[in-house]
């Protein structure tokens, strides 16, 4: 079993920032097989297309998943209307997640804005071996920092306007860490310009880097070929698909 579709109970709903919601969903069969970096495809009542949302927490013991998502439009707005006790229709877990290696001694996790949630399961895996850098527009958009601290990861917070944490982009602390050396891998999710810069820094410093992408998506399982992403593999350019080949790609394979 790679993925299933079903209706699952929302056991906890929290608004954690302006227009950003956290759901905990009881779905033991999904939690059992979910990996960091995978996503769930959620049906929004009254809409044709499901909405892909990254997985922010996997609790195999409790049989729950956590998702954190931002209201981006009408579809996510509809999903945000669901409450504790309601059923949420998910096709999950989907996609190719992050590569997690026991022998990595130091990793850097970078989340930009609503790209931060998929970094949390990685922090859970790596604990003190991880440095979690998060970047947000301003203090009111900051999410999940306490969750990252609980994993034992070193936490670095940046805001574009300096209203909380370091004033500036996530790339500066990454550069500092890269220069010090000893980083086995960088994992990142966020806006494309951020990912492009991170990929460049990693390439310069010879650091292995995986990035999680998003694209407008239909089926979510690799059948419809809607969510194309330009990549290079074995020197050949081709359209990979974010839902099946990704959402996580090796940074070196992605054509920005």
């Amino acid at each position: 079993m790679k993925y299933v579709q079903g209706k699952y109970i929302i056991t906890e709903k929290k608004a954690i920032a302006r227009e950003i919601y956290s759901f905990v969903i009881a779905c033991p069969e999904v939690a059992e097989i979910a990996q960091p970096g995978q996503f769930v495809h959620i049906r929004a009542n009254g809409f044709t297309l499901r909405r892909p949302i990254s997985i922010c927490g996997i609790d195999k013991a409790k049989g729950t998943l956590r998702i954190v998502f931002e209201i981006r439009g009408e579809g996510t707005s509809e999903i945000a209307k669901l409450n504790e006790g309601d059923l949420i229709d998910m096709l999950a877990p989907l996609g190719h997640g992050f590569t997690v290696r026991k022998n990595f001694k130091k990793v850097v996790l970078i989340g930009g804005g609503i790209g931060t949630p998929p970094m949390l399961p990685l922090a859970g895996h790596y604990g003190e071996k991880a440095v979690a850098i998060s970047g947000f527009r301003n203090a009111s958009a900051v999410i999940l920092q306490d969750d990252f601290k609980k994993t034992g990861a070193e936490v670095i917070l940046c805001t574009d306007d300096g209203s909380m944490g370091i004033h500036g982009f996530v790339t500066q602390p990454l550069k500092d860490l890269a220069e010090k050396g000893g980083i086995d891998a960088v994992y990142a999710c966020g806006p494309m310009p951020m990912l492009k810069n991170i990929a460049a820094i990693c390439k310069e410093n010879g650091i292995y880097c995986e990035i999680s992408l998003e694209e407008r998506m239909a089926c979510g399982i690799g059948a419809c070929l809607g969510c194309a992403c330009r990549t290079v593999r074995n020197d050949e350019e081709y359209f990979a698909h974010v839902c099946k080949d990704g959402p996580v790609f090796k940074a070196e394979e992605v054509l920005f």
Binding site: K2, T48, L49, A223, L225
Partner: protein, 303 residues
């Protein structure tokens, strides 16, 4: 339990429901959710002579009660289909409609020729893809071109030939009559309607291809109308599609004249839609005491 079987061009379908080309790939991804033998058939992803990389993203946009796509016929080419995908599908208990496309009538014929030596059950010739610059929709919008491409493919194949029609025309019944005269064994309709969305914050079309094919529940009444018009105009069977998302929709399209029904965008909303639709059709027929789904084909009583 009503008899759900239908026959189209002499080919037996255990039920009339077929996932439409493009939404279902070659079936493998959905087989993770349900056995393919629950389906009457499968219309495989549109396949061309050579590999096609497709259009730049975004290729997908939501619309009121529907969606747009501009995938641009990304596919691995007919040789890959014949070597890898078709043998696998032929091990399943369902009818395989190989959907084929090309930039020229000659290319379409070459693809069909390669299928002639295989055990594929039917060919669905796509003369109506709105997302490729050459060929595709261009064939489907003129009676002469539609007839020409049908003739060329007819010459090289003995397989039942289904021609898939574009709704982006003034008279779809005229196109249907042209392809019937040119040797089509059946027609399927409707392909997607050309549409467009613009992101008003950026002024950019949402689709990188600017325009794309619209499908989903919003197009259903158009599909009903066109299936009815075409079924009234030709003697060959009609396979209906366009916005079908429930058993009642499928029944309605069959009443309009469809001998079988393809399901597309509904699968994105509910991946089990084709299976659910068969069950819902059966429940409806039972509730009306109708013993065979064949008994409803073309039974609309127009005013």
């Amino acid at each position: 339990m009503a008899d759900m079987s239908v026959k189209v061009c002499g080919v037996d379908f255990k039920n009339p429901i077929i996932p439409a080309s493009g939404v279902f790939g070659y079936g493998r991804e959905y087989e993770e959710l349900f056995p393919l033998d629950k389906l009457g058939g499968i219309a495989t992803k549109g396949t061309t002579l050579h590999l096609r990389t497709g259009n730049f993203a975004p290729r997908i946009a939501e619309t009121p009660a529907g969606m747009l796509n501009s995938v641009g016929l990304q596919n691995p080419g007919i040789d890959h289909f014949i070597e890898t995908e078709l043998p696998y599908l032929l091990t399943k208990d369902l009818v395989v409609l190989a959907n084929i496309a090309g930039s020229t009538p000659e290319e379409c014929a070459q693809v069909a020729e390669k299928l002639e030596a295989t055990d594929v059950h039917m060919i669905e010739l796509n003369i109506s893809c709105p997302n490729v610059k050459q060929g595709g929709a261009a064939f489907g919008t003129s009676c002469e071109m539609a007839a020409e491409v049908t003739r060329q493919v007819r010459k090289v194949t003995t397989k039942p030939l289904v021609v898939k029609l574009s709704p982006n025309v003034t008279s779809i019944a005229d196109i249907a009559k042209s392809v019937e005269a040119a040797g089509a064994d059946a027609v399927s309709l409707i392909n997607t309607l050309l549409g467009m969305r613009i992101d008003i914050n950026t002024g950019r079309p949402i689709l990188r291809n600017n325009v794309g094919g619209m499908s989903g529940p919003a197009v259903f009444p158009i599909a009903v109308r066109m299936v009815w018009q075409v079924a009234s105009a030709v003697k060959i069977p009609v396979i209906g599609m366009g916005g079908v998302s429930s058993g009642r929709d499928a029944i309605e399209l069959m009443m309009a004249g469809a001998s079988a029904v393809q399901v597309g965008a509904a699968i994105f909303t509910d991946p089990y839609a084709p299976v659910r639709i068969v069950e819902e059709m059966n429940e409806f027929l039972d509730s009306k005491g109708i013993t065979s789904v064949r008994d409803i084909i073309g039974t609309v009583k127009p005013w």
